[in-house]
Symmetry: C2
Subunit: 719 residues, 2 copies
């Protein structure tokens, strides 16, 4: 490995009291930046060692004195009580029963009570206000219908900042519970701006303020019972942005008022995975503008002090979507994204911001995000790091970022030399990849995939949180596969799907379950959508549907695009209808990996000319069909694995009739390749835990390579 | 076996040309009646041998000369063309394309054309009549929206009686295709009545006319392509009853007109397994009354000639439901039901008619209904007969019928002595059971199960056809289990569910898939239903939900009764909600057979006090919960097997807190027992293919029994 890959583009978490270790690892890993972390400090010795310094600030947290003095400046949320059964005509409900009393406190102020509601959930009707009253933490409902169920929707204060709460409950922290301020509260906002001014003045050594993140945490609702401690978590929802002040501002601007039920939604809230109501969409836009405007004020303060402002995209990030409409307005200097997966690299790389930085996992913490040990007895941090790197490097081979780094307690690396070695290797390989990208983009196929779903570009390269939090959704597996394939990827919202937006698209991909935001649900009731997509395929385009694509109530098929796919799902409507008898095609156009697919017993061939590429238990799970001048394919599921990603690439080529010549292709399905024409470098990645010997077609030549387990190899190819 | 079990209650299919065989088997099987069958005749020698004679008549068939002379007297149906894609503004559709041209002929008479419709299926809108015209078998649609799909709904003549068509295509018959007359056609009806008068006069030897069945066949639509020959089959639907005359009569009576779309329903028709529209319900009632009135006229003719009228409940049975509102009005002397299963025996036994007769399977035909060989190379008719008998005998031990019999070509039994022996044994055991019932009913538990679904009593003890035709529906498995259990069973329509109808009920059972007629679909949106059932359980009743019970759109849970069950199914709404953590209960209240259950990955515990009796892959599949003074249980599926039926019985006892003492119970789950107190006889049935040694608790005594494989044993128990 050449010297030029030894240093740069690496952010190291320093730790006071471990100055020697800090400087030693800064050297080993080639750091050019040292940062602090949640729970660590930097000492003067570290700060003055000649590195650029990032300082982490969670702007709304660590102001407990102000919060205690101004309890009405704290953040809030709507909650719904669990449903209570009436057995006579009066019912008493304690709204917070079942919730974690350390997280929530009723907001029964005169400002808040008008927003409370009581609902008859059996009849799905709001109970008239003169049929209930509130007193001393209890709601008494009168005129009940016996054996109906009732809920109270109420506002409450969130009295424990959620990330601090997580660290206490997971990592056994015992310090004071931190509170969080709502920047919409005028006094709080003045206070926060002054505090930031003051901080900047007191910390001249800091080059970059690393905001973690801005104002509102993603939704994380704890219960009082250990058997359901984390009752609800949605990484991309907006419930924690609510307050009477915000509701009033919304009403003033939009001309209509939101009610508790717009958030509570029959107790189900509105998970990001579900199709949002129009009201929720309005609320999100309203919050995004507010967050962006206030963030810009903070960034201006930071810039005025000669510092840069990077934002960490996690925790209290809500309203900050890097691919959203208002992100670029804020003026951030950098975006930092923690990554387990390839799609997260693409998400970061895709953002319009000067510097893109990845924070690698594992975080230097005793316990990982999934709850398993990392830097403690029973943990294997080097193994974890390598397993994430396998996902990350293939995405970096497609689109690079500017920097990488780590976070947490540096001293925890002691006793883990294999981890230190692994990070050293990754840092060098990252710098090599970055250099290749700087010399010129890697070769890509002239093939553009448009992922179509409810959210479009707003949720480009993500669903809601990390892979392991969303891996029951098929789309995250497809995004992970696509993140390392030599194809172009776009994201189009269903409401924006039209002949115009499909211009330049080769394959439209829709993947999700009936009614969810990814499949699209009732959006497909819009005939214009179906008509545009039907025309697109008929005139030569391709459609790829996965799991329950375009599923929609009210149509003459379960999949709105069944007439194109030639396959449909029986939700009961076909009870007496025979499917077309169809056996598995003998001549497969490419290698099929059945483990990639689902095993849905309810699928059925609905056209005589549908080709079945894979059946399970006599039921088609993967099909292909010509339609007009185009093609359509259906997969009952998709699980990310290297060979499955290869099958997806083969399928995209097959659907579009394009040759793979534009990009290098290995004979082995577990080896991926990227070709950098400007530096004449072929990058080979063995995704297998075994050595692999494979031929690779690249630029009309066949190169034989023997790769070590998991090896990433850079090969200059001279003519 | 005593002499008194050697003869009686047995109907033998005779066959001219095989007089010796006929009389020999009549003796062996103890026949008291000889019948003809579809395709066989009786000779004088047989007719005069001293047996009562049944003659089979299919009243609407075998009148080809009349049908050719009066083609407008033939039966009809609505069909929909397959959807055709418009690529410009004009589209030509040949409506019958894809259908079996030997079954259908367009009805483009001036009487019929006004009922035709053209639909834009992409927009789900009817195309205005001035945007299409019909000529020479083709419909031309103008003003099309490019890339919308269009269908034509049309009337057509059914020119081949469906059972005859089935026999030609399955059993390679080559005789003339038989046509069928519509009794609603005045000339045809006069003709048919005269024909029956004449037939009765010419056949004085016949004692019983066995009507097979009445007028309208169940819906059976053939396609032109071998890969989808049987396009649609619904054993309980009414599409084949339609005609312009019937539609006009309906409109005159009901004050509103039905359209083609009421039948076509977006091309999906209205399978019995789906929740019917209000219009379909009206049409069914209209047809039931017509069928019952016309059938009564036929029965009166038959009675006037001193003969009896039995009806075979199959084939052209539509409108004749034995548990329907008008069946008793017809005045039939007997009902004959062919049986594979226990539930079919209960269906027959439940009908209000003097004589109940079962026709056993296999039918004496080369090929069975499932399409596999029976009386030909590769067939095992004795094994088939025994497998059906295992199901039938346990139902007969609960409720007996009056007669049994066979049908088909008797000569096919030659070369199958094991079959002849098996039928001889079954006939004797049947007579013994019948004698026990005549002496007094068997002991039953004081436990009443109410099966609640859309159809209620109209479809008591059936869904739509035989077990093997409906075995993807969980309810048929439960009915099969219940048919042999010592409990009382009622059927209640959801719209009739109330405190009054639940009086005397111990367990309410709802079992089906979301939106189907068995689960009930939108019926559960009626809060009164949910309230009544919630109260029923809260006040001490029990609710048993299976698969997707009470599933209903629009509520705050997927199962409308989730608040009682303590379990729900995640259709996406719980994407971010954690379930209650729950492990499998260690102390099971009875033996659980996991194979009985499904393996639904989407189930979740929604209450802290739900007991999980069985989990698969960490997901609950069987749960139990106390609710108020009552109990609720959930099963993710149910597959009929003897031990699973026993588990169901144990569950019913557990849910109701009742002791099993009222009825005998074997220690072995594969042995069933019935106790006839009036004859002090214990009947033991070994359902296993292996010998079983078991203890049986009966009347406070423990009886040890060693049973041969599949043995049925009658034991007199003396004090």
């Amino acid at each position: 490995m050449e010297d030029r890959y030894l240093k740069g583009g690496f952010t190291l978490p320093g730790e006071a009291g471990y100055e020697g270790l800090t400087l030693e690892l800064a050297r080993r890993w080639g750091a050019d930046v040292i940062r602090d972390s949640d729970g660590t400090k930097l000492s003067d010795e570290i700060v003055n060692a000649g590195y650029r310094i990032y300082s982490t600030i969670c702007i709304i947290r660590e102001h407990n004195a102000f919060a205690m003095a101004h309890p009405d400046a704290q953040q809030q949320t709507f909650l719904s009580s669990d449903a209570a059964l009436a057995v006579e005509d009066t019912l008493v409900i304690q709204p917070l029963n079942g919730y974690f009393e350390e997280q929530f406190e009723l907001n029964d102020t005169p400002d808040a009570l008008p927003y409370w509601q009581v609902w008859d959930r059996t009849a799905e009707q709001e109970v008239p206000r003169d049929h209930w009253h509130y007193e001393n933490g209890r709601v008494t409902v009168t005129h009940c219908v016996p054996f109906h169920r009732y809920t109270v929707s109420f506002l409450c204060w969130r009295i424990w900042e959620e990330i601090n709460m997580y660290n206490h409950t997971t990592n056994h922290w015992t310090s004071e519970h931190l509170r969080q301020l709502d920047p919409r509260h005028p006094a709080a906002w003045d206070y926060l701006k002054n505090w930031l001014e003051d901080w900047c003045e007191r910390n001249p050594q800091t080059n970059v303020i690393r905001l973690t993140s801005l104002f509102y945490n993603f939704v994380w609702i704890f219960g009082c019972d250990e058997r359901r401690r984390s009752r609800y978590v949605d990484w991309a929802s907006y419930d924690f942005t609510v307050s009477p002040a915000a509701l009033r501002a919304f009403e003033a601007e939009y001309g209509y008022a939101l009610t508790a039920e717009d958030f509570i939604n029959r107790g189900q809230l509105q998970p990001t995975h579900c199709v949002p109501t129009a009201h929720k969409r309005d609320w999100m836009d309203f919050v995004q503008r507010f967050v962006s405007e206030r963030a810009r004020e903070l960034v201006e303060i930071i810039h005025r002090h000669g510092k840069q402002a990077y934002v960490f995209y996690d925790d209290s990030w809500v309203g900050l979507e890097p691919n959203g409409r208002y992100f670029a307005d804020v003026g951030f200097d950098g975006l930092i994204k923690c990554v387990f997966s390839g799609f997260e690299c693409r998400l970061c790389a895709n953002a319009k911001v000067p510097v893109h930085e990845l924070r690698f996992h594992p975080y230097l913490f005793p316990v990982g995000l999934g709850g398993l040990p990392t830097f403690m007895e029973g943990g294997h941090p080097e193994r974890d790091a390598m397993s994430y790197w396998l996902h990350v490097r293939r995405a970096l081979a497609r689109k690079c970022v500017d920097r990488i780094g780590l976070g947490g307690y540096l001293h925890l690396t002691e006793g883990h030399p294999a981890f230190v070695d692994a990070i050293e290797m990754m840092a060098k390989q990252f710098r090599h990849l970055k250099e290749l990208h700087e010399q010129g983009a890697p070769a890509a196929l002239p093939l553009t995939v448009a992922v179509v779903h409810t959210w479009g570009e707003l949720r480009a390269w993500t669903l809601s949180g990390h892979f392991h939090e969303t891996d029951s959704h098929v789309l995250i597996h497809l995004l992970e596969a696509l993140s390392g394939l030599p194809v172009n990827v776009r994201f189009i919202a269903l409401e924006e799907l039209s002949e115009e937006t499909l211009c330049g698209v080769d394959v439209v991909l829709n993947a999700g379950r009936a009614g969810d935001a990814w499949s699209g649900g009732s959006a497909w009731q819009d005939e214009r959508l179906v008509t545009a997509l039907t025309r697109f395929v008929h005139e030569g385009g391709a459609f790829l549907g996965v799991e329950e694509p375009t599923a929609c109530p009210g149509g003459d098929s379960f999949f709105a695009m069944a007439h194109v796919l030639g396959v449909d799902r029986d939700d009961g409507r076909y009870a007496c209808h025979a499917p077309w008898a169809a056996g598995e095609t003998e001549q497969k156009p490419f290698t099929i990996y059945p483990n990639a697919l689902g095993a849905d017993p309810c699928l059925r061939v609905t056209a005589p000319d549908t080709q079945v590429l894979c059946m399970k238990n006599g039921v088609p799970q993967m099909t292909l069909r010509a339609f007009g001048s185009g093609h359509a394919a259906y997969l009952s599921g998709f699980v990310y694995a290297p060979e499955n990603a290869r099958m997806l690439l083969d399928l995209l080529l097959c659907l579009t009739g394009k040759a793979a010549e534009g990009a290098p292709l290995a004979a082995s399905p577990v080896v991926e390749a990227a070709w950098f024409p400007f530096s004449a470098t072929l990058v080979l990645m063995n995704n297998a835990n075994d050595p692999v010997s494979t031929a690779v077609c690249c630029q009309g030549r066949t190169i034989e390579a023997e790769l070590q387990p998991l090896e990433m190899r850079f090969m200059e190819i001279k003519d």
